[in-house]
């Protein structure tokens, strides 16, 4: 499928939406589809400092545990509390209600390490 054009992507199948120096992070539709029914998401704590591409949590589907990497580094300012009671939001709305956490960027140049929509589409087509 075509990816949302206003986002940047990582090779680990996360997306980033930049708004000034704050980034919203989620996993892509391709990722949620590969994982299957998501039953639990472990997110970084608000206030934690996380490094770009670091391991910051896990996403658990019915049968598997997958590491969650952050496509962008900085200070975690907010997590999606709605996922605690309804982790399947990530399956249903990966680019909307299923977002994971927000980060205040430590360095806006990190965006240069991410993929444009067309490049991510090539990545998952391989």
């Amino acid at each position: 499928m075509a990816q949302p054009q206003d986002l940047l992507y990582s090779k680990e199948h996360e997306w980033v939406k930049l708004n000034g120096d704050v980034a919203t992070v989620g996993i892509t539709d391709y990722a949620q589809n590969s994982l299957g029914d998501i039953v639990y998401v472990e997110l970084p704590r608000v206030g934690a400092t996380i490094a770009q591409f670091g391991n910051v949590g896990v996403v658990e589907s019915v049968k598997a545990v997958s590491d969650l990497f952050t496509p962008i580094g900085g200070e975690v300012t907010e997590i999606n509390g709605g996922l605690e009671n309804d982790p399947a939001l990530v399956n249903r709305e990966p680019y909307a209600g299923g977002w994971l956490f927000k980060v205040k960027l430590s360095d806006t140049a990190q965006r240069n390490n991410l993929l444009a929509p067309a490049d991510y589409e090539k990545e998952i087509a391989e």
Binding site: G36, D37, V39, Y40, E42, V58, E60, S61, V62, K63, V65, E84, P87
Partner: protein, 369 residues
């Protein structure tokens, strides 16, 4: 069945799975569907309507001869000679130490016996049986590759299958079987399964499998029948407290430890591994399989450590979210005796943090009928 270049085999239903959009994974030496739509959706179909499974990867052997019963009684824990014609029985082949070599089902047909073994154990079981044939007069034939196995499981399976078979399946009791036809094709129809629901297993020739599979689906889609993959099958069997070889039973985890004592007939004069199982049973100090329900939302997975107080007492063998239990997280654990009593509070270590869990009686789920 065919073999691809990397030696992963395909069942007679492979093309059907691809056509249905299944995600295929290697399992037990075969390319098998793990899910078609979603594990939760397929699980729901089996619990409330019915699901269709391809189990053609399971090993199928034919045993023939007058002494099959007496011969098999010496290699397995349950009674075989007392199985009536057209009856099925769960059984376990053990090793000399009492460990499980494989768990199997014997189906006694007219003039022959059908033995169904786990896919990954099929080569091992072929060798084991051949090595123990001796002068028993028992003849062994391998159907692994020519026969298919389709399972129809769920509360609506009887009404979905009945119009398409000449066998009076409504009168077929649980763990009995019959020979007849399904959509005009020869089939052994058994009222067996591994989901905790009512259902049937159809042993058919590989060349008939795709037609039977696709007709059953087409005729019953409107009534809620769905194809079901290995992912949902594992959740269903776990909820139903059914052991899976390699998890709750292994070469070193005995049937007694797995809680399958009902299948272990220590009154039999002899069988391979009996002495070890008898000693274990009388000693009653062994680590055993127990069920736990996690207090929180984090699932326990195979291999996680289990604690009673500060003491490590065992490990998780299978774990999943249980849709039939309001999505609580359940698991089987292999733990020391004192940690296995229902009501005991345990902790499971998950990524460095201990999470509360309570021991419960198995099965987690039992159908209401």
């Amino acid at each position: 069945m065919t073999t691809t270049s990397n030696d992963v085999k395909r069942t007679a239903l492979y093309d059907e799975h691809v056509r249905l959009g299944a995600r295929m994974i290697p399992f037990g030496g075969f390319e098998m569907p793990v899910q078609y739509t979603s594990i939760l959706r397929e699980h729901d179909a089996v619990r409330h309507r019915a699901g269709l499974f391809d189990l053609s990867h399971m090993g199928q052997f034919i045993l023939q001869g007058e002494n099959v019963g007496a011969w098999a009684d010496k290699l397995t824990v349950n009674n075989v000679a007392t199985i009536k014609p057209l009856q099925a029985r769960y059984n376990i082949f053990t090793n000399a130490e009492g460990g499980a070599h494989d768990d199997v089902i014997f189906y006694r047909l007219e003039g022959r016996w059908l033995l169904v073994v786990n896919a990954s154990n099929a080569p091992k079981m072929w060798e084991h049986i051949n090595a123990h044939l001796g002068d028993s007069g028992v003849k062994l034939t391998n159907l692994h590759g020519s026969n298919a196995l389709i399972a129809l499981q769920g509360p609506k399976s009887l009404e979905m299958l009945a119009p398409h078979t000449d066998v009076d399946i409504a009168s077929l009791k649980y763990y009995f079987c019959a020979e007849g036809s399904v959509y005009g094709k020869h089939a052994v129809i058994a009222r067996t399964g591994y989901t905790g629901e009512d259902g049937f297993e159809l042993f058919v020739d590989g060349t008939d499998a795709a037609e039977i599979w696709s007709k059953l689906l087409a005729d019953n889609r409107a009534a809620g029948l769905e194809p079901v993959g290995l992912g949902a099958r594992d959740v269903l069997r776990l909820e139903a407290g059914m052991p899976l070889y390699g998890h709750e039973m292994t070469e070193t985890i005995t049937p007694i430890q797995a809680g399958m004592n009902w299948a272990v007939k220590l009154t039999k004069p002899e069988f391979l591994g009996k002495r070890a199982l008898q000693a274990q049973s009388e000693g009653d100090t062994f680590a055993r399989i127990a069920g736990i329900v996690m207090a929180g939302r984090t699932p326990a997975r195979a291999g996680y450590k289990v604690f009673l107080g500060d003491r490590e007492v065992g490990e998780v063998r299978s774990g999943s979210t249980a849709p039939s239990l309001q999505n609580q997280n359940v698991a089987t654990v292999l733990v020391e005796k004192e940690a296995a009593t229902p009501g005991t509070l345990l902790a499971v270590e998950i990524r460095g943090t201990r999470h509360d869990a309570t021991v419960v009686s198995l099965p987690f789920y039992k159908r209401s009928s």
